[in-house]
Amino acid sequence: MNFKHKYFFLFPGLFVLIGILIFPIIFVVRLSLSGWNSYNPGLDYIGLENYIRLFTDDPRFWESFFRLSFLSVTTVILQYVIGFALAHMVWKDIKFKRFFRVLFLVPMMTTPVIMTVIWRTFFHESLGPVNDLLSVFGVAPKWLTDPVIAKFTVIIVEVWQWTPFMFLLLLAGLLSLPKEPFLAAAIDGASPIRKFIYVTFPLMAPISIGAIIIRLIEASKIMDTVYVLTSGGPGTSTETSSFYIFIKGLREFQMGYAASMSFTYLIIMIISLTIIAKVLTKVLLKE
């Protein structure tokens, strides 16, 4: 089945995608070499000045990047552990299996920013139910205005929103596992814990890697939630890279500088995700 018409199948999609993407990417690179800002909107050429500024004179960008790494790695680990636990629980027959499966999927179907609007009222420091219930214990955490606690508020909301996606991928994986290894384990009389460690988990390793990588990719874009929940605040304590680039580029209109940041950010993302994928593959598959 090797004829010319194979190109008619492939090319429309490929070319549309390349067509939409190629110019923006070239343009970002070119823009990053210019001093485009609101006083001077134009593609002049200032060499690597933006990059020099970024690498030598902008601690805020790197802080926001480490904050993003912390937030995304923490949320993805939590999502993986909880998602795996949930998937494992509703994998075999329990009462109301389908009800729980649907229920656990629901948060993923809701628009993050809209739910965050609700979370904001939920965590409101004087009018929200969380602090009202916690007042029984005499504590009233400042969910949105304390620099440390605000990070955890973001994590809670992200875990609520995206654990379902992890759950979905892992449950789909569990449902596709072959039956024979489990039969063998049952014949050997393995306990549930041993069965999990020696049979389920190793079989799930490739799917786990896939799911973690997919979630890390999506988590590295955290921005909507932060924008609505805390606007990066208090101060810059919940600001992520995307949000900082957004402020520089589309609020202060330092387009050239923002372009150099976003290009650097993209390169770092590609490199770190590749490394993480390699490391995970080694750790989970060689064990």
């Binding site: 429309p12 823009l31 179907m109 009202d132």
Partner: protein
């Protein structure tokens, strides 16, 4: 030992269920409150803690001139953009996925897997990287603040998902189907349209669901690329949040906005149980 395990299992399920349901319940009760029951201390149970009223819901159908919250137009805008972009992505993505699944491509060192990876890897692209050039491009061709501009951008977001799901799906559809059709005298296009596609409906539905989910929930591009002429639902709700809108109508409009996709959860679960999602992430 076994008893403890079962107890812990149900305990965990109950805790997580409460966590999942809590914000919805809170929004639902808040939407029936009035000024006194929101600002005069936290209230939970209607009729016991506070007297429910329908004010929060009534503003949704009032016209903006009379103090209503105008979410009907953003609703249809969101629906239109999501559906159009999903449809285009599914059509183009399915064609490409079919080619990648059935034929061999080779151009230098680029092979099938590399092309597939190219499609899927577009998800890695942080939206902010694209938003700045898109902002400047669309403004230079006067498509900023328009539905067309948004649809173009959403195709980039959604096509990778369509290709990702459909390549795996076509890999599971036996090749013999196409071959039989070709022997029976179909040309490759007829074979694809009349034989392969009808056998791929579950895959198409799953891919469509995911495109609709990720299109419907996007906020970032809509937020950056539109202002006043065209407003999508998430942008509208967030704008309500930062203006003086009271909590009850905010909650009501938020609930109305997230409601439609909850149906999608049922459909996804159905296909999940049938095993149609299993190949997608290997």
């Amino acid at each position: 030992m076994n008893k403890l395990y079962i107890f812990l299992k149900y305990f965990f399920i109950v805790v997580w269920t409460v966590f999942v349901v809590a914000p919805f319940l809170w929004a639902l009760t808040t939407s029936f409150k009035d000024f006194q029951s929101v600002n005069g201390g936290v209230t939970y149970i209607p009729w016991v803690d506070f007297e429910p009223n329908l004010e929060g819901w009534k503003v949704l159908i009032k016209s903006p001139a009379k103090g209503g919250v105008d979410i009907i137009e953003p609703y249809f805008n969101s629906l239109f953009v999501t559906c159009t972009a999903s449809l285009i992505s599914i059509i183009l993505g399915t064609l490409s996925a079919y080619a990648l699944s059935r034929y061999t491509f080779k151009a230098g060192f680029v092979k099938n897997n590399d092309i597939t990876f190219f499609f899927i890897s577009q998800r890695i692209m942080p939206p902010i990287v694209l938003s700045i050039p898109f902002f400047l491009f669309l403004s230079s061709i006067n498509l900023l603040d328009s539905l067309t501009g948004l649809i173009v951008v959403y195709i980039v977001l959604l096509m990778p998902i369509a290709v990702w799901i459909m390549v795996d799906f076509f890999n599971k559809v036996p090749r013999e189907i196409d071959e039989t059709a070709l022997i029976d005298g179909c040309n490759p296009y007829q074979a694809f349209l009349k034989v392969v596609l009808p056998n791929s409906i579950p895959g198409l539905i799953v891919a469509g669901m995911f495109c609709i989910i990720f299109g419907w929930i996007d906020f970032f591009f809509a937020f950056i690329l539109t202002f006043t002429e065209v407003q999508l639902l998430p942008v509208k709700i967030v704008a309500l949040n930062s203006s003086v809108t009271p909590w009850w109508s905010l909650s009501a409009s938020a609930l109305v906005s997230v409601a439609p996709l909850i149906i999608v959860a049922f459909i996804v679960e159905r296909y999940l149980s049938k095993g149609n999602l299993s190949g997608a992430i290997k």
